[in-house]
């Protein structure tokens, strides 16, 4: 039986190898969110990987709004049992179900909405959360967003709605790594106090300083769950380091959408022990 602590290193190996093969994909944000995905899928979510249903009744749901970090989603879904781990080797290759950005189009278990064009996932999650209320289903809806993604206006349409209409079965997490394609978020478009912005929209705001500390992520997600059902949607502003886990990839936007070459892959994998067996 694998320990939850075995997952992050193995998922990082998967991410690195997945983007290396096609020399394409987004490793940086994926590696920064590895602890979040580990905590969510291997401890927090009440879900049924062996019998995936699009409908998702009687389960917690997760929506990845910043779809470009598909490598971490795919690795996590496979390792959780949604589909065979061996399929990770097809990422971004012709005829794959593991498209560059996630899609329902090819029937990949674990994916309930296409994402990639940014800013749309929060609205979808709000709709799914309202559907749960209509169904008398007391399970929760989780989302993940990039911080750069919050520059999209639709996010704030959804945030205003969720706060005003008390969508309190929803836990959104913002990956606050401070980086986006063209540079740091402060260089591209400073976003000010994100917590204050969500609070002003009627959300219950939580902050996590160490989003790459697995135990800290587990604790904040557990606490977020206890804060649902109280009239406000919950948001976690989670600080992470893009590229966390490999010293030469960490903390820079350089690895947002660039794959390691052969030499870099060897050096990176040396820093991520094979804990659960490579695909």
């Amino acid at each position: 039986m694998a320990s939850i602590y075995d997952y992050p290193s193995q998922i990082r190996r998967d991410i690195l190898r997945m983007v290396h093969k096609p020399q394409s994909g987004h490793p940086g944000g994926s590696m920064g969110c590895t602890e979040f995905f580990t905590a969510l899928y291997f401890e927090v979510l009440r879900h049924n990987p062996a019998a995936f249903s699009m409908d998702g009744r009687g389960e917690d749901l997760f929506f990845l709004s910043n779809g470009h970090i598909s490598p971490v989603l795919y690795s996590t879904l496979a390792r959780a049992g949604y589909f065979p781990v061996a399929e990770l080797s097809t990422f971004r290759l012709i005829n794959t179900r593991l498209q560059g950005h996630p899609t329902t189009h090819d029937g990949l278990p674990g994916v309930r909405i296409a994402s990639g064009s940014l800013g749309q996932g929060l609205s979808v999650a709000v709709g799914a959360a309202q559907a749960k209320k209509l169904n008398g289903d007391n399970h929760l809806v989780y989302t993940l967003h990039g911080d750069g993604e919050l520059q999209e206006g639709q996010i704030w349409e959804a945030a205003m709605y969720a706060g005003a209409k008390k969508v309190d079965n929803l836990i959104a997490t913002v990956d606050a790594n401070g980086q986006q394609i063209d540079g740091s978020t402060d260089e591209v478009l400073p976003m000010g106090d994100l917590g204050a912005k969500f609070a002003a929209f009627g959300w219950d705001v939580m902050h996590l300083e160490h989003g790459n500390d697995l135990d800290a992520v587990r604790a904040v997600l557990r606490e977020a769950g206890t804060r649902t059902g109280k009239g406000k949607p919950v948001v976690i502003i989670m600080k992470t380091a893009m590229g966390h886990g490999v010293d030469f990839m960490a903390g820079t936007h350089k690895w947002h959408g660039v794959a390691p070459n052969d030499d870099e892959l060897v050096r990176a994998l040396a820093q991520c022990p094979e804990t659960l067996g490579d695909y």
Partner: protein
Amino acid sequence: MHPYTNQGSQDTRSGFGAGLLELGRRNPHVVALCADLTGSLKMDAFAKEFPDRFFQTGIAEAHMMGMAAGLTIGGWIPFTGTFANFSTGRVYDQIRQSIAYSDKNVKICASHAGLTLGEDGATHQILEDIGLMKMLPGMTVLVPADYNQTKAATIALADHHGPAYLRFGRPKVANFTPADKPFVIGKADVLVEGSDLTIAATGHLVWEALEASNTLAAQSISAEVINFATIKPFDTEALLKSVTKTGRVVTAEEHQRHGGLGDLVAQTLGMHRPAPVEMVAVNDSFGESGTPAQLMDKYGLNAAAIVEAALKVRNR
């Protein structure tokens, strides 16, 4: 002379409102969303009778489309309502990714389409929406002709799985199709049989096509009138069957030539049975303020324009 009579002019948006209300009573899975145009879309009766199944999103159309996609996850059948301009162009990427590519069972219901929105002018008079929506893979596109048919189309959509676009309008227009006729998605209706030319019409222009057929009949020209209330999937068979008989076509729609029914008819004929086509449509321009009748006259979208096009296509 065509056998149809105007049973009393009504707006097609009221047909949508009546259909939605009936669906609310008939189908417990139907929900509705509106972006601050509940009265204009005639959704207020549904909202009043089914407050738990009605979502007022405020003026946030992009969010409304995403939320509708989310509501399908859990088994609900969402009908979104706003003006056609804000139902398509404003939210095209949300529809493309969260609804069409994600194969979500969302019904996008769009009022105030085309020039007949009238005095508000070109900012609101979308004439490109049929083209935008029919280009999306898997999207069903319906443009019913009158109140009765819009009501029937609304009801039919609830039993049809998949993303769909329903286009209707603001002004009171002739209501002439049978009140109890079920809407069959993908089937065109031959309203008048004829032998000299085919008039392929959609939406508000169908009644104008019937009126034009009367004028043509008085000149001993026999026009076949077909109501293409489904734009996609297109009823290729109905078109080819008619053109095999008549050999020429006039298309009529409240839309741009580019991307509309005319394009579709010309493409279909080009591929299967080349024949002359004249298009009654807006020719690469925006609209403007005016009454619906003034605008339809100025931009050549009425029975007189159809007659003129018919005479032209006859001589080609």
